[in-house]
């Protein structure tokens, strides 16, 4: 049962191209209001199709969904949605100012607000010196920045970004990250489709991993990585730990450290006590956890269980 409490709610979305290519095979997804949501998946997983269905660019074969409480395809809702597609092609003969004005007007924003917001955003992203220069002179990273301005300039409630930091330098990435975090503070919902997992890890509240048209895993970063927590116990000296001890704790020894796939601190402390009792000297105990990239690769290779 769908309600309007979610910024995005999708249920059982199916999409087939040319009756043969199954891009989506029943996707269920919810994005909360004021949440940054990351969508991950290998090439061909159906991420762009999913985003395009949300933006009415592609029609689903089956399934339903809502955007800001309105059914998918409700055109007036798009007035409150900002979108930056992957590999966007802006009219190269326009200057950044004119391009932003054009797309702002297409979103029913007034000329005055377009001008004001465009100037503000371009300044925030360090593009104010380039406003009167044609886009054909811009680098990929610069186009990405003005593209982001285009998605944000009409003050949307939902922001959908497909590879927003593609080609952007580290300073630009940081600026974009700050802008997105600020938008979240203002209660806006953001969906980011990206391959740069470390970026997503830094800003996303929740992520979903899409594999072969299905949501393979979904949750907060902590939920996805907690079960992967482990400890690394570094030892001093060449003396190896007794094999029966390693066996008892299901640990591995790779000199000079013991790797313990254990999430329970009590068990870790027990092992530490046992090691000390055997006169082994410990230099460090380091908690380890999978990164989002590890979770993604694990899911993509199908070695882990679904969450």
């Amino acid at each position: 049962m769908m309600n309007g409490n979610w910024a995005v709610e999708l249920q059982g979305l199916h999409k087939t191209y040319s009756r043969r290519i199954h891009a989506l095979r029943g996707v269920d997804l919810r994005i909360g209001r004021g949440e940054i949501f990351g969508l991950l998946g290998p090439n061909g997983a159906g991420k762009s199709t999913l985003v395009k269905i949300m933006m009415t660019i592609v029609r689903p074969l089956a399934g339903q969904g809502t955007l800001l409480g309105h059914p998918l395809g409700h055109q007036p809702t798009l007035q409150h949605v900002g979108y930056l597609p992957e590999n966007h092609r802006f009219p190269s003969y326009l200057t950044a100012r004119r391009m932003l004005h054009y797309y702002g007007r297409l979103t029913r924003a007034s000329s005055i607000s377009c001008r004001r917001r465009a100037a503000e955003l371009l300044d925030r992203l360090g593009m104010s010196r380039w406003t009167e220069i044609r886009l054909e002179k811009y680098s990929k990273g610069m186009l990405q920045r003005v593209g982001l301005c285009q998605a944000l300039q009409h003050d949307p409630q939902l922001i959908v970004l497909d590879e927003p930091t593609d080609g952007v330098d580290p300073i630009g990435r940081k600026q974009i990250r700050e802008l997105l975090l600020e938008a979240r503070q203002q209660g806006k919902s953001i969906l980011i489709n990206s391959h740069i997992l470390s970026e997503l890890e830094m800003v996303c509240d929740r992520v979903a991993i899409l594999l072969q048209g299905r949501v393979a895993r979904q949750g907060t970063i902590a939920e996805l990585t907690d079960h992967t927590r482990s400890y690394e116990i570094s030892l001093i000296g060449d003396q190896p730990p007794p094999p029966e001890l390693l066996q008892r704790y299901n640990a591995k020894y790779e000199p000079p450290a013991i790797h313990l796939s254990e999430n329970d601190p009590v068990r870790v402390n027990q092992l530490l006590d046992d090691l000390r009792n055997r006169q082994l000297l410990i230099s460090a105990v380091t908690p380890r956890r999978w990164s989002l990239e590890d979770v993604f690769i694990d899911a993509a290779q199908g070695t882990g269980g679904d969450q």
């Binding site: 055109q75 979108y83 802006f90 007007r105």
Partner: protein
Amino acid sequence: MPFWTLIAMTFRELRERRLFWLNLVLSLIVVLALASISFDTQGVNFMFGRLHVDNPNFASTSPYFHGMIITIVSELLIGLYIGFVGTIIGLISTAGIFPAFIEKGAVDLVLARPMERWKIFLAKYFGGLGFMLIQSTVFILLTYIVIGVRWQIWLPRYLLGIPLLVLLFSYLYSLSVLFGLWTRSAMASLFLTLVCWFIVIIPAQKTYEIFHSTPQFKDFTRVRQFTSLANTIVPKTSYIPTLLQQAIGETEQIDLINQKLLNQNPQLSPADQQYMLDFAHQMLHRPWYGVIGSSLLFELVILLLAGWRFQRYDF
């Protein structure tokens, strides 16, 4: 509001192309050449009077003078130059509008706006017509002034040539849009449109004229019926000069000119001359609403097909 923004942007896109300005420059050259021509009681002067040709038919005192000017202006300037050359340049310029628009990354930015697809489609379509509107307005206004100032013939209804030329262009542009959406290629769209125009539309009109104006084909009933049907279906791209002549008036003079031209052909019997004259008269006085209506119907069908494609397509 977004509808008009999109129309304006489509037109701006055309303005960015060199052909737009090239066509305007060509038009100015033709207008200048026209301005260099003048008429006197003996005949016609070219190159601002540097070259004089004695010809009583073109003498300003000739009873056919107005009809002759209207025929030349409508057939050569409107029919041949802007209606043919200008239309081809227009088709070249606009053939890329839809293929470029539906490229991945470009179409997404517009479809994700609070605007129905059919409105986006129509805005792009009308934006493309802006090319011909500007070109024909500039050309016809300038030639109107030249004809008035230099030849002392003021023909306010000649300005109806502007919507007529846009109409002519719109028939072919609708085909270009359909092919552009189908093939996603500007070159293919242009090629197929020109093929349709030269291989189907023009031949359909010309074979109709040949089979109905030539006395020798009087008894080819089936063929005549078929050509009538074909001519009814296709857009009447060749009839713009005739429509303009009708709009300007003076059709009696044009009838007389036709009669005079036929009388000069000794190979034709009086009955054949009359047969051909009747056909020319009939063509000149065909109801404009029938000519425009059937052409618009064709255009509507093509646009519905193209619009359906645009509406249903997953970009």
